[in-house]
């Protein structure tokens, strides 16, 4: 189940990153909102990983090279603008993807029917914050612009084909560009001009080629589980 693993890893890893915000958010309402999104994503991850095998074995006992999440979702939280830019790019993608999967009758249709509602909320949350930060103060504008530019090169990977998904991810690209472009323009932010591919070849995360922060993230995530082999929790 290559596709279940790919989508599951995306949700698992981004959920973990959002979990790192807990207790650190800029305002109490965002503690609630970020945790809420993290929980939705973790719920998706559990369903998807269970389609591919045992959720805990897959989450805790694979090494870095066996994870197939996008490099985008493993990027460190950075400041609030980086978190929001990452969320805008990914939630827009995930919402478009789940809307399409929900409309079909493939293996992901049932999950997608629920996830499309969740991702609509995530997308709205990211869009509203992009507007507030982009069209807020000079400082917030500058930070949002920096974040959008910095993460742009990880977005091309989203449209690489995933085996077994039953949908053409490449075809989502136009709709994604239009949607993200419209939000950025409303926020007074330029659409980044750089290439939409990372330091590795496009599709790198999907092939288990990750960025350096990912290994440390996994070390933290897996440490306790690996310290007690065979235990149940």
């Amino acid at each position: 189940m290559t596709a279940a693993l790919a989508l599951g890893d995306d949700a698992l890893v981004l959920s973990h990153r959002l979990g790192e915000w807990m207790g650190h958010a800029p305002v109490l309402e965002e503690e609630v909102a970020l945790a809420n999104i993290a929980l939705d994503l973790l719920g998706q991850a559990r369903v998807l990983l269970s389609m591919a095998g045992d959720e805990d074995e897959l989450a805790y006992l694979r090494e870095e090279r066996a994870f197939s999440n996008l490099q985008l979702v493993e990027q460190p939280n950075g400041d609030f603008a980086h978190t929001i830019a990452r969320q805008l790019y990914f939630s827009t993608y995930q919402h478009l993807l789940y809307a399409e999967l929900a409309a079909g009758d493939g293996p992901f249709a049932a999950l997608a029917a629920k996830a499309v509602k969740e991702t609509a909320y995530h997308r709205d949350h990211a869009e509203q914050w992009t507007l507030r930060l982009g069209d807020g103060t000079d400082l917030s504008h500058q930070r949002m612009r920096t974040a959008c530019t910095a993460l742009w090169r990880f977005t091309g990977e989203m449209f690489q084909p995933v085996e077994g998904l039953g949908t053409d991810l490449g075809a989502l690209r136009t709709g994604w560009l239009e949607a993200v472009g419209a939000v950025l323009r409303r926020a007074g932010l330029p659409v980044p001009e750089g290439a939409q591919s990372g330091a590795w070849t496009a599709g790198a995360g999907r092939q288990g080629l990750h960025t350096e922060p990912f290994g440390r993230m996994l070390a933290e995530m897996q440490h306790l589980h690996r310290s007690h082999p065979g235990a149940s929790w």
Binding site: V27, L39, L133, G136, T137, R143, L224, G230, S232, W233
Partner: protein, 334 residues
């Protein structure tokens, strides 16, 4: 207390009589009702401290979110920490009905002028601590808070009804977490026992000083903010925990703990009030870290709140529909 010395008008005395009669009849005092200044001040202090405890209390547990050993446990823990942020929001709202702003209260927390529960100054050193906090700390909190559902101030009482429902979930989840560890490998069992050993006494301290040293008790009881004494609630908690510890297969770290047939309660050993006072004074194991992290989150988030306020000001009239009133109001004051 302000009201004891302030000159009084005939109106004030009539209001006081109405207030006293309402409290005596177990009616609820509501935000627009007249209330004694000291009643208002006591409630602000208590509700703010309660709200602060919810948000500081996120830290020791959030400490384990990224290391939770299974996806199910991770989801439960995330939901719990999210609930705590929500409880903080309810409680700040309840405090705001008394005429104080959330920002003002957060300022007082950040500058050490208002306190939070002493328990959150203890570190979470192992995964089992997450279970011990759920079982013991939330258990103690519920024992304290259930009577507050009947407290004389309406908004506080109603907030407590919602908080207690969610807290009892957390408490059962904590118990279940410890049970899984206790029945697990020898390493897991030892981890659970060690956590209970470290959290037991601090949990008993959550009920506050002994009755003869409790500064606010008499007045709060007369106002029906408080319904039971510290020692009564502590005894109730011990009596509940003893059989639960037994079914968990864990022991409580008190050699003097035994059933007293005559009293119909468990006797237990002396609490180390010196430690309690040190923690309250700011000398507990994590006081410094907890408040530093809270201040840092607030300071580092200032530019975000300022951006939201600036955006709202530019788009006033249309912004509220997009963002929801509360966030906008809160950031607007920042």
């Amino acid at each position: 207390m302000a009201t004891a010395t302030a000159p009084r008008t005939a109106d004030d005395e009539a209001y006081q009589r109405t207030f006293d009669a309402a409290v005596a009849a177990d009616e609820r005092i509501e935000p627009r009702d007249w209330m004694p200044d000291a009643y208002r001040a006591t409630l602000v202090r208590q509700i703010a401290q309660h709200a602060h405890s919810e948000i500081i209390g996120m830290q020791p547990e959030a400490n384990w979110i990224t290391r939770a050993p299974s996806l199910r446990r991770k989801a439960i823990l995330m939901a719990k920490v999210q609930d705590e942020a929500g409880h903080g929001l309810y409680l700040y709202s309840a405090a705001e009905t008394l005429g104080v702003g959330r920002d003002e209260l957060l300022d007082k927390l950040h500058s050490g002028r208002q306190k939070y529960s002493s328990i959150f100054n203890y570190p979470t050193l192992t995964w089992a601590d997450v279970g011990a906090i759920g079982w013991l700390v939330d258990g103690a909190a519920i024992t304290n808070q259930v009577p507050l559902c009947r407290c004389s101030y309406g908004p506080y009482a109603r907030a407590m009804v919602r908080v207690c429902k969610e807290e009892s979930f957390h408490q059962r989840q904590g118990y279940e977490l410890l049970l899984a560890l206790s029945r697990g490998t020898p390493g897991q069992h030892a981890m659970a026992q060690d956590a209970v050993d470290r959290w037991w006494w601090p949990s008993l301290m959550m009920f506050g000083p002994p009755d003869d040293e409790s500064a606010h008790s008499a007045q709060s009881t007369a106002w029906k903010i408080k319904r039971h004494s510290n020692d009564e609630l502590r005894q109730r908690f011990v009596d509940i925990c003893v059989p639960q510890a037994k079914s968990l297969g864990l022991t409580l770290p008190d050699p003097d703990l035994r059933w007293n047939e005559e009293r119909g309660h468990h006797d237990f050993g002396p609490i180390d009030w010196t430690e309690f006072k040190e923690v309250i004074k700011g000398n507990g194991p994590c006081n410094e870290e907890r408040i530093t992290q809270r201040r840092r989150a607030h300071d580092e988030g200032a530019w975000v709140r300022e951006a939201a306020a600036a955006h709202a000001a530019k788009h006033s009239g249309t912004a509220a529909a997009h963002t929801g009133g509360r966030t906008e109001k809160e950031v607007g004051q920042a």
